[in-house]
């Protein structure tokens, strides 16, 4: 293809792209010097060994049937089978909501919803029991339905009075949090309370991270404001709390929750293991959240405060209407990062005898039929966490770019 670049013929023409021949690319990128050549050969040898060894194991030796055979146990633990529809219902509600938000806003949210639906379809292709595959297709359909509703809402309002729709949307998202918990846990009557909450497998990892972030966000905001307060007593207490919690490992806090909570509370209050774990992870996470939020608060230029005072807002209103919206918007990537860290930390729940994914996998291993499948199980767990964490960090990177946090 020939392109002519006559002066001022078309200012919009892209710069010419250089087409590099393969040989030159190889020379530039892999064999530019003798040292580079050695590095290339060494890396190639490493890759070949890894791929060959892993590939051979994964295809020939691994007994992957352990995963589908125990999938229900790993994902939802001892959740009763006749009540499983509640887990699916929660998932459908989330799918519907994210589809709706995607249809309403488009852009990144739409892409996330789309990826979720595709993931459900891909999972449905895998050789799970037929009922599971049906449920999974339903989940994809719920995202699609939500998307249609969202588009409809957008068209119906003509893009003008969308404010109240957005308000409803946010309210429903926030409400879905306690409703989902109630649905999963049960209240009696048609929704019997599920026993043995501490044996829910992977569901507990997800719940731990969601509850931890959901509760630690408001707490963290308060702590961050307290740490920046002009009142010395409040500042001191908040700083001490934050530094104390950040100075000790989560597992020592879990240890404390498992043995000391019953000493610190009166006789008639005896929270069960899962509640204790959730309280602990909230306490732990709020200290880190406070530091994230503080970072956002510090990034707000002084002029914003001065302008707000000049308009006549008082301190509280300035914080709520002017400062926090900007500060929280700037720390969304950091919050996503913390969500990932918290999600990974939920594997420590096993320390206080909670059967989350990692701990419940050990009960599979103690089953004689599945002896020696330790590699398969750990690789499976690793892959599950990897996919979720990696996609979340990819989302976070996109948000960061969109917000232009690094460029301001």
């Amino acid at each position: 293809m020939m392109r002519s670049y006559e002066p001022a013929s078309n200012a919009q023409l892209p710069p010419p792209t250089e087409r590099i021949p393969v040989v030159r690319w190889l020379r530039q990128n892999l064999f530019s010097s003798w040292f580079n050549a050695i590095l290339t050969l060494a890396s190639a040898a490493l890759i070949v060994t890894l791929v060959y060894g892993l590939g051979r194991w994964a295809i020939v030796e691994a007994r992957w049937e352990v995963i589908p055979a125990n999938l229900k146990l790993l994902v939802v633990g001892t959740y009763p089978i006749d009540q499983l529809w509640r887990v699916w219902a929660t998932l459908y509600a989330i799918g519907l909501l994210s589809g709706f938000s995607g249809g309403l806003h488009g852009g990144l949210i739409r892409r996330i919803a789309l990826v979720g639906a595709i993931a459900a379809i891909v999972l449905a292709i895998l050789p799970f029991p037929l009922a599971t595959r049906g449920w999974l297709l339903g989940a994809a359909a719920s995202v699609g339905g939500g998307f249609g509703l969202g588009r409809l809402a957008q068209f119906a309002t003509g893009g003008r009075s969308r404010r109240w729709i957005k308000r409803i949307e946010i309210a429903v998202w926030i409400l879905s949090f306690p409703i989902g918990l109630v649905l999963l846990n049960g209240v009696g009557g048609p929704l019997p309370v599920i026993k043995a909450r501490n044996q829910w497998g992977f569901l507990l990892n997800l719940l731990g991270a969601v509850v931890g972030i959901g509760l630690s966000l408001p707490l963290g905001v308060l702590l961050a404001l307290g740490r920046r307060s002009k009142l010395p007593a409040i500042r001191l207490v908040c700083t001490a709390y934050i530094e104390l919690i950040r100075g000790v490992p989560l597992i020592s806090l879990l240890f404390m929750a498992s043995i000391m909570l019953q000493l610190l509370l009166p006789d008639n209050i005896r929270p069960d293991l899962v509640i204790r774990a959730m309280i602990t992870i909230t306490i732990f996470s709020s200290a880190y959240m406070a530091e994230n939020v503080r970072g956002g608060l510090q990034a707000i230029p002084k002029g914003q405060y001065e302008a707000a005072y000049a308009v006549g807002l008082n301190g509280a209103l300035t914080t709520i209407l002017i400062i926090l919206p900007q500060a929280l918007r700037a720390v969304i990537p950091a919050i996503v990062g913390q969500f990932i860290a918290l999600f990974k930390d939920t594997t420590l729940f096993g320390f206080i005898a909670i059967l989350e994914l990692l701990n419940i996998s050990r009960s599979v291993l103690s089953n004689l039929e599945w002896r020696g499948t330790i590699f398969e199980l750990y690789v499976f767990i690793g892959v599950v966490f990897w996919i979720l964490c990696y996609s979340m960090s990819a989302i976070s990177r996109r948000i960061e770019k969109r917000l232009g946090v690094g460029e301001r």
Partner: protein, 393 residues
């Protein structure tokens, strides 16, 4: 009218900012104090009921449980000493882990910016894989899957060159042990150090006078090496004897033993934290302006010198603060040792708690230990950070 507006009396006290400040702080403190009082009250009630009282006397009682690794310890020693063994074990893992993680992180971080496409991709693969899998899953993988399942039994241990044996019992390797003539050689080592410092200072001053870069540390190391090696030959007999592990009936004897849980913990912590450090190093190097690089090249410095004299010293200022928090994370994460059976301070602490039932004291002790270690690390790193800080005009 004007008088009233100007006088402070005109503001009602419940709208006076100065009064409100004091009142809100007092109320806040009263709330906190009430909460603490309530908790303490519950605590004393609960402790009274079970007939316990708070006190650290139990630390002088005999521990009675074995600790398989660490400094010399017998089950007949006291609880306090057992705890100290745990603290030393934690410090041992943390220090070795920090050193290894820093090496891995620096190498991988530089590799991620390499001009070599394959090396760059390989480094990215490592970082993205390790960072997105929970540390505990990795530790379990190393310990239960690799160390306890994939490795052979003691009888058929893998023999690596140099009499190093790898099996489910851990790693056995030859270790030098001092003989009678070690004392004489010790003096040579001491003298070598004195001479090394002298050589280092001399060369440094010389280089400064000549105003050019060089390796004064190399001079010091060279002086030390020459004296120590000369001492080795001058000392009658061999000052160190190699203690080689030998397979006896049930296990290896002699040599240095690294337990499987220790090895798994160190490998897991170093590779996990190394991936995070790699990102920090990469970001630090990228934060140094491109112009710096180009200016250094324009002056005629070689690639290695550009990195060592221009880029890294500036990158270090960006790297140190996040690096500090990674070191702290590694130290705190070493508490996962308890889940793979390594006797760190938390593991020993919980064992003492199980034996004595002293919840409050042990919690205080454990939290205090971690807090002081965190404080110590950040003090050290802050001192280093101040030292390398940009000296502004």
């Amino acid at each position: 009218m004007r008088k009233r507006a100007g006088s402070p009396r005109s503001i009602a006290f419940w709208r006076d900012v100065r009064v409100l400040r004091v009142v809100s702080q007092v109320l806040f403190l009263i709330g906190i104090a009430a909460a603490i009082w309530w908790l303490m009250n519950n605590l004393t009630t609960n402790l009274d009921r079970s007939g316990l009282n708070i006190g650290f006397q139990f630390l002088r009682d005999t521990a009675g449980f074995p600790i398989s690794e660490g400094i010399a310890y017998e089950p007949t020693d006291v609880n306090g000493y057992a705890y100290l063994v745990g603290v030393v074990n934690t410090i041992r893992v943390a220090v070795i882990g920090i050193v290894l993680a820093t090496i891995i992180g620096t190498v991988v971080g530089i590799a991620r910016l390499s001009g070599n496409w394959l090396v760059r991709k390989l480094a990215t693969l490592y970082v993205e894989t390790v960072r997105n899998i929970p540390l505990l899953v990795q530790l379990f993988f190393w310990y239960f899957a690799v160390m306890l399942t994939a490795l052979p039994l003691v009888k058929s241990a893998i023999r690596l060159p140099g009499s190093i044996y790898l099996s489910r019992r851990g790693l056995y390797m030859p270790w030098p042990t001092p003989t009678e003539s070690f004392g004489t050689w010790g003096w040579f080592i001491l003298g070598g150090f004195v001479l090394a410092i002298g050589a280092y200072l001399f060369r440094k001053a010389q280089l400064k006078r000549a105003d050019r870069p060089g390796f004064p540390l190399l001079w010091g190391a060279g002086a030390l090496l020459i004296v120590v090696i000369a001492g080795w030959f001058l000392t009658p007999g061999s000052p160190l004897a190699l203690d080689i592990p030998v397979l006896k009936k049930f296990n290896f004897e002699g040599g240095m033993w690294l337990s499987t849980s220790f090895s798994a913990l160190v490998i897991g912590l170093a590779t996990y934290t190394g991936a995070f450090i790699a990102e920090i190093v990469r970001a630090g190097i990228q934060a140094v302006g491109k112009g710096q690089n180009e200016a250094a090249k324009a002056l005629g410095l070689k690639r290695g010198l550009v990195l060592r004299l221009v880029v890294l010293p500036q990158a270090l200022r960006v790297i140190i603060p996040p690096l500090t928090s990674q070191y702290l994370n590694l130290t705190k994460n070493s508490s996962l040792a308890i889940l793979i059976g390594y006797y760190d301070l938390l593991n020993v602490g919980t064992t003492i708690f199980n034996q004595t039932g002293r919840a409050v004291e042990m919690i205080l002790l454990i939290m205090g230990s971690y807090l002081s270690m965190s404080l110590l690390t950040s003090l050290l790193m802050n001192w280093y950070n101040r030292r390398i800080k940009l000296v502004e005009r």
